[in-house]
């Protein structure tokens, strides 16, 4: 099996920030990675700001943080961020002229669809890796996106085709969960392949839904990471084969490989 994995140049490198803009409740961060290879959708990067991050000067954030690229084109990487703590805050405060440390692309991304129509199911910030997957497959990959409310749902505008939206508070699209939308799509098209990324509870609902119906699913999981390249054994998630390091054997795992997508300590 050829893996959905682009090798990374060894070491970390500096990338110039070209834009950092609010997008509803999220931040869209763009940086030039001229020399970097073209990543596979679902792979990720370990990011840190050049200044005031870790070791020499700062306390927390100390370790780099993991982010899926939301878009990669012409030597430019785009990340979709949600400010949930000191690392994401520091990244959100970047302005053009500052620089990012980046290490990647890392891990194993999404496999190209083997059958049927691709359905992209995203929960919140989980939309990020699905965007570049849609960029690759084309607008026939239907996006189904769940958000807390209309302010976050603005991110759906990044997607091609007609993304279907659900919000927890009903302020945009379907009032309810993205899994409601997915269930409907699967009723209509039981031959689809599902790609999903989002919070643990949402991924677990997707996994169970697909397992129930024999629909293949590829789930991009999260877990706390220190290194991102298999060095620390810190990011393990339980699978049917025991613990695997999400940073080298994931972050994309086949739904079938999991008993449950509820990873202890993941999500915020």
């Amino acid at each position: 099996m050829s893996e959905a994995r682009t090798l990374a140049p060894f070491g970390r490198r500096l990338a110039d920030v070209t834009a950092c803009e609010e997008l509803g409740g999220y931040v869209l961060l763009t940086a030039r990675d001229r020399a970097g290879p073209v990543p596979r959708p679902g792979q990720f990067y370990m990011l840190a700001t050049e200044d005031r991050w870790g070791g020499g000067e700062a306390e927390r954030p100390y370790l780099p943080r993991a982010f899926s690229h939301a878009r990669a084109a012409d030597g430019t990487l785009t990340f979709l961020l949600e400010d949930v703590g000191p690392g994401t805050r520091r990244l959100s405060e970047l302005v053009p002229g500052f620089r990012l440390w980046l290490n990647g692309p890392l891990g194993r991304g999404f496999e190209p669809p083997a059958r049927g129509r691709p359905l992209l199911a995203g929960g919140g910030i989980g939309a990020a890796p699905l965007l570049c997957l849609q960029d690759e497959i084309g607008p026939e990959a239907q996006a189904l996106l769940g958000f807390r409310n209309a302010s976050f749902a603005v991110a759906a505008g990044l997607f091609a085709g007609e993304p279907l939206v659900a919000t927890d508070d009903g302020s945009a699209g379907h009032p309810g969960f993205v899994t409601d939308l997915l269930r409907e799509e699967l009723e209509r098209d039981p031959e689809a392949t599902v790609y999903a990324c989002g919070p643990p509870a949402m991924l677990e609902a997707v996994r169970a839904l697909c397992a129930e119906r024999g629909v293949p699913s590829q789930l991009a999981l999260e877990s706390g990471m220190a290194c991102g390249y298999g060095a620390c054994f810190g990011c393990v998630v339980p699978t049917r084969d025991g613990y695997v390091r999400l940073c080298v054997d994931g972050p994309v795992l086949a739904g079938d490989a999991l008993e449950s997508a509820l990873v202890p300590g993941a999500g915020h």
Binding site: F10, G11, G107, A226, Y229, G230, C232, F233, C235, G242
Partner: protein
């Protein structure tokens, strides 16, 4: 800047700390660009045990002020799995290989050290004694006598250099180092992680799946420097100094306190090529006012 470790000539004095760099996984990620600019002058494996271990349940990591707590729990394939599955890949290493082993008592340690020491690919064996002796209930590495017994048994089964990895969670690491030297160790490495823990701010329950873990990173550097100094005053065998090394300046500090090599651990998580940078910075520092070796 050439160096040596227990008689093994090295191209430089920078090692990795056991369990903080996985050559095989890094090669899956970086391909052969890793070989071309391998960041360490000798490579130390993650600690292996006789039987395979899954390791601790997640979460396994917690970031602290200027540091990291890990509760990994020594996941590994076990001795057979290591010899059959990993060692063939480790042949491609461009630098000497040190294998770290841990056993629940001197017999188990000796079996492990004997088996890995017998392999040509293995330049030296590191004994991780930061674990309880199941027979005595004591943490081997915090007790001089326990440590000596273990080293003696290992010494009897291998002619390869034996390095004892000391735990910092001991009243007198210098005494443990002296006991290891008397029992025939060729070197000591220190510090391993400091016992620590954190609570989940939301639930108030212990965050780590393993409840407690080990602290590493810049937060422990001052403690590591003091222990290296204390150990250097007690032994004349080689010392591998580590704990929060993040710059050539830090490496020079360990060397000037008596270490002959320096290991980089947590800093490699921030920068996979940290070992290269630190070696480069060290050469600059050494070229300046400060003697790099005592």
């Amino acid at each position: 800047m050439s160096a040596s470790l227990c008689g093994i000539p090295l191209r430089g004095p920078i090692l990795n700390g056991s369990g903080t760099f996985d050559f095989i996984a890094a090669r899956r990620t970086y391909g052969d660009s890793l070989l071309a600019s391998f960041p360490f002058d000798a490579f130390v494996t993650k600690t292996i045990t006789l039987d395979p271990r899954q390791g601790n349940p997640p979460p396994r990591l917690w970031e602290t002020p200027a540091g990291l707590i890990n509760s990994i729990g020594l996941p590994n394939k076990g001795l057979e799995g290591f010899l059959a599955g990993d060692l063939p890949h480790l042949r491609d290493l461009p630098v000497p290989l040190v294998v770290s082993v841990m056993g629940y008592g001197p017999e188990e340690l000796a079996r492990l050290a004997g088996a890995v020491g017998a392999r040509d690919e293995v330049a030296a064996v590191e004994l991780n004694v930061s674990c309880p002796n199941v027979e005595s209930g004591l943490i081997m590495g915090s007790d001089p006598a326990e440590t000596a017994r273990a080293v003696e048994r290992v010494r009897a089964v291998t002619a390869k250099p034996v390095i004892v990895k000391l735990t910092p969670n001991a009243t007198d690491p210098g005494a443990v180092a002296a006991a290891a030297e008397s029992a025939g160790a060729d070197g000591v490495s220190l510090i391993n992680t400091l016992r620590g823990m954190a609570l989940d701010p939301r639930s108030g329950a212990p965050w780590l799946g393993g409840v407690t873990g080990g602290v590493s990173g810049p937060a422990v550097r001052a403690v590591a420097l003091e222990q290296v100094r204390a150990v250097a005053a007690r032994v004349s065998i080689d010392i591998v100094g580590m704990g929060g090394v993040a710059s050539g300046r830090d490496a020079a500090d360990f060397l000037s306190l008596g270490a002959s090599c320096v290991a980089v651990g947590t800093e490699s998580f921030r920068d996979p090529a940290a070992g290269l940078r630190i070696g480069r910075e060290l050469r600059t520092v050494s070229a300046g006012a400060l003697p790099a070796t005592p």
